[in-house]
């Protein structure tokens, strides 16, 4: 059910298609050409650049080909591995919260009753998702301010002393994680809610009569319907974390030091603040390979049944 085949339809008129052989190409050509020009051509250009010495602050040196030197440099660059490691750690930090809170919210929204409040809560999930990522970072910078931030005030309510979040390594990491959890938990909740609504009504009602235990209901009846959504969430969010830039850039610029420098922030720094385009391109190509592997996995999991 999950699995979303993009071709549920029966092929329209396989015996007598009723259209010319080149008709599909005519309809497809504009979009395909556009994506070739704006997507594929720059990618090839990046690939070529990644084999050159290409520092745009020193154009007089020219941009000579240097073979795989950039790749050797990147692969032996400790900071590159550190930022990848940090990106992975960030993923491992936010996902448990987003999955757990997402399931709890989905269950609250799925449970019948309290029509108005339930509708309001469901609709409100859209707000974090629509908020401009850059603005999320700006809000985070205000909320986690050490002097007048509301985060410290809230800690105070529980008797925990406040601190300057964005000035400390762990504090800054926690702060960007919290903003990410805020923004993307609703996404997980919506996916899980879609999964819960797939449980046949009769099955769920019969189960509710059999057992009063919510845990049993969740485990035996609802969980199987949540699993496909869980896989989707894990794969899509991992691709998102590899892309994550805007919110961190406006909130911490990767700092203090390199405490919040995830992979996209690091590549942007090498490319646009150090202007070492050759190295940055090699990093970007490696990131692209990682992303392609992820999207292949995604397609394998979700589109298996198509031809």
């Amino acid at each position: 059910m999950s699995a979303a085949s993009p071709t549920p339809s029966k092929p329209a008129g396989r015996l007598n298609p009723g259209y010319g052989r080149w008709t599909p190409a005519l309809f497809l050509a504009p979009a395909v050409l556009a994506l070739l020009v704006i997507g594929i051509y720059p990618t090839i250009f990046a690939l070529v650049t990644s084999f050159r010495r290409y520092n745009i602050t020193r154009p007089r040196d020219g941009f000579p080909f240097i073979g795989i030197e950039n790749y050797q440099k990147v692969l032996s660059d400790q900071t590159f591995w550190d930022t990848l490691g940090l990106t992975f750690r960030f993923f491992l930090t936010v996902m448990p919260f987003q999955i757990f809170l997402g399931i709890v919210i989905a269950l609250l929204l799925h449970k019948p009753g309290l029509g108005l409040v339930r509708t309001l809560a469901r609709v409100s999930l859209v707000v974090p998702l629509a908020t401009t990522y850059a603005v999320v970072g700006l809000i985070g910078r205000l909320v986690f301010n050490g002097n007048f931030g509301v985060a410290n005030q809230m800690l105070g309510w529980f008797g925990i002393p406040g601190f300057d979040w964005l000035a400390t390594t762990n504090g800054a990491f926690a702060a960007i994680a919290i903003m990410d959890i805020w923004q993307w938990t609703p996404f997980c909740a919506l996916i899980f809610l879609a999964g819960l609504s797939m449980v046949p009504v009769e099955v769920e009602e019969a189960a509710r009569l059999e057992t009063s235990s919510k845990v049993a209901l969740l485990r035996h009846v609802q969980l199987p319907y949540l699993l496909p959504g869980l896989t989707a969430v894990l794969i899509l969010r991992s691709a998102d974390v590899l892309k994550l830039f805007d919110m961190i850039f406006t909130m911490t610029r990767g700092g203090p030091g390199t405490a919040t420098e995830l992979i996209s922030i690091y590549i942007q720094r090498v490319g646009f603040r150090v202007f070492d385009m050759g190295t940055a391109s090699a990093q970007a190509i490696l990131l692209l390979i990682l992303t392609i592997m992820l999207s292949r996995l995604y397609i394998r999991v979700f589109y298996r049944e198509i031809q």
């Binding site: 999950s2 993009p6 071709t7 549920p8 339809s9 329209a12 298609p17 309809f27 497809l28 504009p30 979009a31 994506l35 704006i38 997507g39 051509y41 720059p42 990046a46 745009i56 809170l101 609250l108 929204l109 449970k111 009753g113 309290l114 809560a121 409100s124 859209v126 629509a130 908020t131 401009t132 990522y133 850059a134 603005v135 700006l138 809000i139 910078r141 205000l142 002097n147 007048f148 005030q153 105070g156 609703p186 879609a194 999964g195 989707a232 899509l236 830039f245 406006t250 996209s264 590549i267 942007q268 490319g271 646009f272 391109s281 970007a284 990131l287 692209l288 992303t291 995604y298 589109y303």
Partner: protein, 272 residues
């Protein structure tokens, strides 16, 4: 008794969900209405006398007005272009059979996963060579990399739901393929086209990385303008939050219009 208790828990839970999803938004809006001394109060104040000074300030700031205009021009143009290019492709994917169709489909939607930084580097160098840096055009084109896939994906779904009997009847009447697309699929596909247009608009409006890298002074978009206040010793928090509110409010309203389709737009087919 226990029924009643369950209801209370449910109610409290839903209220907490509301508090969770709305708090940062609430904090941004209230902060935009505080004067500087309330903004810098420690601990922060929740009750205060609201002021519209910051809004007055940003509506008198030509830089912010023009950045909002640039964002509007870019987001609208790229959305229209994505539909003009994407809708015919969606029709082909929905109704024609041809070799390599599923591969083409995957190629379209897999564009969603590519990190903008991968394309930002080469596009910066290419745009520099072509003299396209700091123009509307470069952003309008590069935003197609995520808008085109979303239009193709949502419209393909929409066109498939249109009964193919209509098409066959029209063909018997001798209508050309283009006429069938123009007279049947486009009008009946309006809901899907509208939803994908709203998504394209939201994603383009919200984008920061490409805008930051590919434009300078002449074409500063709204998110870049909001970010540009973040320097100096004492940050103008009221102005920043007012700008944030002005940027976020319209897209939030748009998003509420398509809230039912939100999951589809963001997952590109993971759940259905």
């Amino acid at each position: 008794m226990s029924m009643r208790f369950g209801r209370v828990i449910h109610f409290v839970g839903l209220i907490l969900v509301l508090a969770f999803t709305l708090f940062p938004f609430f904090w941004m809006v209230t902060s935009s209405l505080k004067d500087q001394s309330d903004l810098l109060a420690s601990p922060p104040v929740w009750l205060f006398t609201p002021t519209l000074d910051h809004y007055r300030e940003i509506f008198e700031d030509p830089k912010i007005i023009s950045s909002v205009m640039h964002s509007l021009i870019i987001a609208t143009s790229t959305t229209l272009l994505a539909i003009v290019l994407g809708a015919p492709a969606a029709y082909a994917l929905a109704r024609f059979e041809f070799r390599g169709k599923s591969d083409l489909w995957f190629w379209f939607i897999s564009n969603r996963m590519i990190s903008p930084i991968v394309l930002a580097l080469p596009v910066y160098l290419l745009a520099q060579t072509l003299g396209l840096l700091d123009t509307h055009l470069v952003l309008i084109l590069i935003y197609l990399t995520f808008n085109l896939p979303i239009v193709v994906w949502i419209c393909t779904d929409q066109f498939r739901s249109i009964p193919s009997e209509l098409e066959q009847a029209a063909r018997l009447d001798g209508a050309s393929q283009f006429l069938i697309f123009w007279r049947i699929y486009l009008p009946l596909g309006v809901p899907g086209i509208a939803v994908s247009a709203i998504f394209s608009f939201i994603f383009s409006w919200n984008e920061l990385l490409y805008a930051l890298v590919l434009t300078r002074r002449a074409v500063q978009t709204a998110p870049v303008a909001a970010t540009s206040f973040m320097s100096g010793y004492e940050l103008p928090w009221g102005k920043i939050m007012a700008t944030g509110t002005v940027i976020v409010l319209p897209v939030t309203i748009f998003a509420l219009l398509v809230s039912r389709h939100m999951v589809r737009g963001l997952t590109m087919g993971a759940t259905k």
